[in-house]
């Protein structure tokens, strides 16, 4: 299954995703779906961004493309991408 590389920004703690063309992006819709080989390389490359103090705690999660939009396999990542389901006024979902 394809994967997405994610992390949190060091300063704000904000959730971000990796896109090889655009760097770290804030919206899941803009995240790049990676093959196994790409994912492994991207995760290794994330160490450099950690070193540069851009992000912390990078990891990969499973996702698939649905209607052209990345959809995570786990509820956890869907919530992380949007914000608390009990506070639609907070998090990325709030716009």
């Amino acid at each position: 299954m394809p994967q997405i590389l994610t992390a949190n920004r060091l300063v704000l703690g904000e959730v971000v995703y990796w896109n090889a063309d655009r760097g770290w992006v804030t919206r899941l819709d803009d995240a790049q779906l990676l093959s196994d080989a790409e994912a492994e390389a991207a995760l290794k490359g994330a160490a450099e961004w950690v070193q540069k103090r851009e992000v912390v705690a990078p990891y990969l999660f499973d996702a698939r493309l649905q209607n052209g939009i990345p959809v995570p396999s786990a509820v956890r990542e869907a919530i992380r991408a949007a914000g608390p389901t009990v506070r639609p006024d907070l998090g990325k979902q709030a716009g």
Partner: protein, 551 residues
């Protein structure tokens, strides 16, 4: 309440400045994340699902009005205008920014607060009976010992790197309103036959992956020896507790591995050695000095009966309903203890907005309340209200959405932040609590069911105390989807017990129906006056299983 002396004040100020330096070194790259993480955790700063989360210590759950105002200010200016009161009687801010945290710590220091020991493998912020100093029949104010232990354990060099976190709770009443026996050390003030006050000390309680109730380690520890006894327990644990496996590192595992008899023997040996040196004997004058901070309020002499209060109840059904559930007897005639529910139907249990905090601080001023208490059930308590002023209090609580009449009822649900916020969670807790509350919102239905404690955790770490819920709900991950197990028969009160898993779990769509099914079985089986827990203990799990898994 306790007021900082110059040493306390300097300590928290210096700590804030120290953390400012650590944050600066992290942002400049001088510290790596691996180096910085334990430093931020020592100051209560976690990286959660969406952002950084700051956990603020509220020692033994007591806040003054200026402290509450400061929390409101911090919530409004450094977070998103609210905070979340936890089962550890603390407050969590879920949206702080790393560079702001040193400023937040300095703001807290101005009102004698901090975030130390709200994380990490040390003695955590102590918890206590939220009715301390107000409950009838109390032996002494448990916060006196809490404060002594707080001073003893703060930055204690020997106990700053324990095998795992360590939680201590103190109560001094027969009624347990603090979930005493689920703590690593549980202290119950008691009197001996000579009328002297001492402490019954239990060791090895805790929930999580391996839940245990604490076992008695000392039946009567004299007051002067309590720190020596606690130090003895800590030394045994620090030496013998496992450090190779995070899941087996709590003192509960040690106690249940070697047995309580062997634990008692080891504690006695350490205790004898400490006693020989005599250095940890509590000087009575120091106890008195600290006790003076918790001296009983200047209570007026009031009649037991209060005609205007009775008239207000007669004239207002909603007020009467609130009194029935949220007002409790006080030790002094003419006074009452008022529980302020943070469980409005459909809202997040334990959440309190900055506006509500400011409103409550104004209420405290208006009614001369020096303190407000945070409960492990995620509610607040005004401990010393005049009965004659309860109606006026209630009228002020209504517009703040803080007058929900549900304390102890089915909608007064404990829920951890769960997968909506928490990095460790496997499933959401809050929406389940909200949906159960909506399903059972009808006041008549709630009162008909009587005392019923539902506690929900979003993972096995059990911050929502699901093991000690009359009905406990544990959220788990099932192939990436949320799934919920039901436990029945737990209690965190003086009749403490651990609930048992009923059977296979339910998905997100089925869990509320499943709870309703369990309630239906109780209604069918209950005898007159039986609480849910009483019925369960009489009939066992089988009838509930049969109904729940009939199809």
């Amino acid at each position: 309440m306790y007021r900082y002396d110059e040493f306390d004040a300097r300590l928290v100020r210096e700590r804030a400045e120290q953390f400012r330096g650590q944050v600066a070194r992290r942002l400049s790259g001088e510290l790596t994340e691996d180096e910085f993480k334990p430093l931020r955790l020592m100051n209560g700063l976690y990286l959660q699902l969406h952002s950084y989360m700051l956990r603020i210590a509220i020692p033994y759950g007591t806040l003054s009005a200026p402290q509450l105002r400061k929390l409101a200010f911090i919530g409004r200016n450094y977070d998103r205008g609210y905070g979340h009161f936890t089962t550890r009687q603390n407050l969590q801010l879920h949206w702080v920014k790393l560079p702001d945290v040193p400023d937040v710590l300095l703001e807290l220091a101005q009102v004698e607060m901090h975030c130390m020991q709200t994380s990490g493998n040390n003695v955590r912020n102590l918890t206590a009976d939220p009715f301390a100093g107000a409950a009838a029949g109390e032996i002494e104010d448990p916060r006196i010992l809490c404060e002594i232990v707080r001073q003893w354990s703060t930055l204690h060099p020997e106990f700053s790197f324990l095998p795992r976190k360590f939680k201590i709770c103190v109560i001094a009443s027969e009624h347990d309103r603090a979930a005493l026996l689920i703590h690593d050390i549980a202290i119950h003030a008691v009197k001996n036959e000579a009328g002297e006050i001492g402490y019954r000390v239990y060791v090895g309680g805790g929930l999580g992956r391996t839940p245990y109730l604490a076992l008695e380690a000392g039946s009567f520890v004299p007051k002067r020896d309590i720190l020596a006894f606690l130090e003895a327990v800590m030394r045994v644990y620090n030496e013998a507790g496992r450090r190779d496996n995070i899941w087996k590192a709590r003192v509960k595992i040690l106690v249940h591995q070697i047995g309580i008899e062997e634990m008692r023997r080891r504690i006695a040996k350490e205790f004898a050695e400490i006693k020989t040196s005599g250095t940890l004997e509590l000087p009575p004058e120091e106890v008195e000095r600290i006790a003076a901070y918790f001296a009983p309020s200047d209570f007026a002499t009031l009649p037991e009966e209060c005609p205007e209060f009775e008239a207000a109840k007669q004239g207002n059904r909603e007020f009467a309903a609130w009194v029935k559930t949220n007002v409790h007897p006080h030790k002094m005639p003419g006074y009452a203890i008022a529980t302020i529910s943070l469980k409005p139907i459909g809202q997040t249990p334990g959440d309190c907005s900055s506006d509500q905090m400011d409103g409550l601080a104004a209420i405290m001023d208006a009614f001369g309340q020096a303190e407000i208490r945070v409960t492990h059930e995620q509610n607040l308590v005004l401990p010393h209200m005049r009965t004659s002023e309860l109606f006026a209090l209630w009228q002020k609580l209504v517009p703040l959405d803080l007058a929900t009449a549900n304390h102890g009822l089915i909608t007064d649900i404990i829920a951890c932040p769960g997968l909506d916020y928490c990095d460790l969670a496997n499933a959401r807790s809050i929406p389940i609590a909200q949906e159960i509350a909506k399903r059972f919102a009808d006041p008549e239905r709630q009162h008909d069911l009587g005392e019923l404690k539902i506690k929900i955790s979003g993972c096995i770490n059990a911050c929502g105390h699901h093991h000690v819920g009359h009905i406990g709900i544990l959220g788990v991950d099932r192939k990436g989807l949320e799934n919920y197990q039901i436990l029945l028969g737990g209690s965190g009160a003086e009749d403490a017990s651990l609930g048992q898993i009923l059977g296979p779990g339910f998905d997100r769509e089925g869990i509320v129906d499943a709870v309703e099914n369990v309630i239906g079985t109780y209604k069918t089986l209950r005898r007159d006056g039986e609480r849910f827990l009483d019925t369960y203990r009489r009939v066992g799990a089988q009838p509930f299983k049969e109904q729940l898994y009939a199809h």
